[in-house]
């Protein structure tokens, strides 16, 4: 018993942070290094999934679940879907030019050094006292973030009820407007995605200005293009319908 009692404190927070951060970073590097687009998507899933773990760890349960549901379960499925639709060879290799690598490494490396230096340099961000205090006072079932979040989305910031500084509380905005307006945006995007993904309807438009304009544009195109889209649809025509619903899909989901 004594043995067990002696090691009562294991640094769980640190442990899980390192775990999730490690997975996230390692697989992000894998995303960068791999030449296979499908594996890239797969590593991205793992990376973003463990990012959701980080969100949980920082007390943002709802956002973490949202990340899993919409980002990983919606957006990335969409991306993989796109990969499948467009992959010609079975395993699409993408070779990056070595000079690109060198350049990217230099620029990216210096940017990284700069950003990490900035992140690690600010005193108020390095202050662990809040973290320790929070851990000490932590109630296991304390994390009720969904309700204030939901209320904030309807414009009521309950988290600012006991704000010390009422002036700053005003700057703590309710998010009713973006919540509503983003739905309009999603609708527009939905229409746009559906428009882009579906094939051009047969030209039933009456001959007139519109038709002339269209024909002229096509004619301009033909002066330089030898290939028009023709057989290209064979590969994806059967799948395009479902893809369209897919695209509508993720936005719908986001809307929820």
């Amino acid at each position: 018993m004594g043995i067990l009692a002696a090691v009562n404190r294991v640094y769980w927070h640190e442990f899980f942070f390192m775990l999730f951060a490690g997975i996230s970073v390692v697989f992000a590097v894998c995303v960068l290094l791999t030449q296979n687009i499908v594996r890239m998507a797969f590593y991205l899933v793992l990376s973003l999934g463990s990012t959701a773990g980080l969100f949980f760890l920082a007390g943002a349960e709802f956002v973490g679940a949202m990340q899993l549901m919409i980002y990983v379960g919606g957006t990335l499925v969409l991306l993989i879907f796109g990969v499948m639709l467009t992959a010609q060879q079975r395993y699409v290799k993408m070779n990056t030019h070595p000079t690109d690598w060198v350049l990217a490494t230099i620029v990216g490396g210096s940017l990284l050094v700069l950003l990490i230096g900035a992140a690690a340099g600010v005193d108020s961000w390095k202050d662990a006292s809040a973290s320790k205090k929070a851990l000490a006072e932590l109630d296991v079932d304390d994390a009720r973030t969904a309700t204030p979040l939901g209320l904030a989305l309807t414009g009521v910031r309950v988290d600012k009820l006991d704000s010390d500084d009422p002036a700053l509380a005003n700057g703590q905005s309710g998010y009713l407007l973006p919540f509503i307006i983003v739905s309009v945006h999603l609708l527009v995007v939905l229409i746009g995605a559906a428009y882009m993904a579906r094939t051009k309807r047969s030209a039933t438009a009456p001959v007139g200005r519109a038709e002339r304009a269209r024909l002229n544009i096509m004619q301009m195109e033909h002066e330089t293009d030898d290939v028009v889209y023709s057989a290209s649809k064979q590969s994806s025509s059967s799948l395009l319908d479902s893809d369209q619903s897919q695209a509508e899909e993720s936005t719908d989901e986001a809307q929820e």
């Binding site: 640094y11 996230s24 991205l44 943002a60 980002y71 940017l111 992140a119 973290s131 509508e248």
Partner: protein, 116 residues
């Protein structure tokens, strides 16, 4: 491990730690955007960039990490970012498919009709 007092080999987790993860994801995403030739690969890089920013927002808003924080704003902004990223990805994918239908490739280097 039994019987030993575990000394803290690592300092307590602070906002900076999260920021470093965010910065790494951001830079990797940016490099991904620069080096990948596949349009969908670039999109994946963008997702990484957005996630790097999201980690920042969550860290800045976390009551566990910092007293004087963004509060719920951080979480709310990242919620919206997730939604917007989904919308953006949907349109970008539709455009990529449209490109593929016309060019029979998704390699962005083949997009060379427009030069000058």
């Amino acid at each position: 491990m039994f019987g030993l007092e575990i000394t803290p080999v690592i300092a307590a987790i602070t906002v900076s730690h999260y920021l470093i993860v965010g910065a790494i994801l951001f830079v990797i995403g940016a490099v991904c955007m620069a080096t990948k030739r596949n349009a969908l690969g670039i999109l994946m890089g963008i997702e990484l960039v957005l996630n790097g920013a999201n980690i920042n927002f969550i860290a800045f808003g976390s009551p566990y990490l910092r007293d004087d924080n963004l509060g719920l704003d951080g979480q709310l902004i990242s919620l919206f970012v997730i939604v917007l990223a989904a919308a953006e990805a949907a349109v970008a994918l539709a455009i990529a498919l449209n490109f593929y239908n016309n060019h029979n490739t998704i390699d962005i280097d083949r997009a060379d009709e427009l030069k000058g």
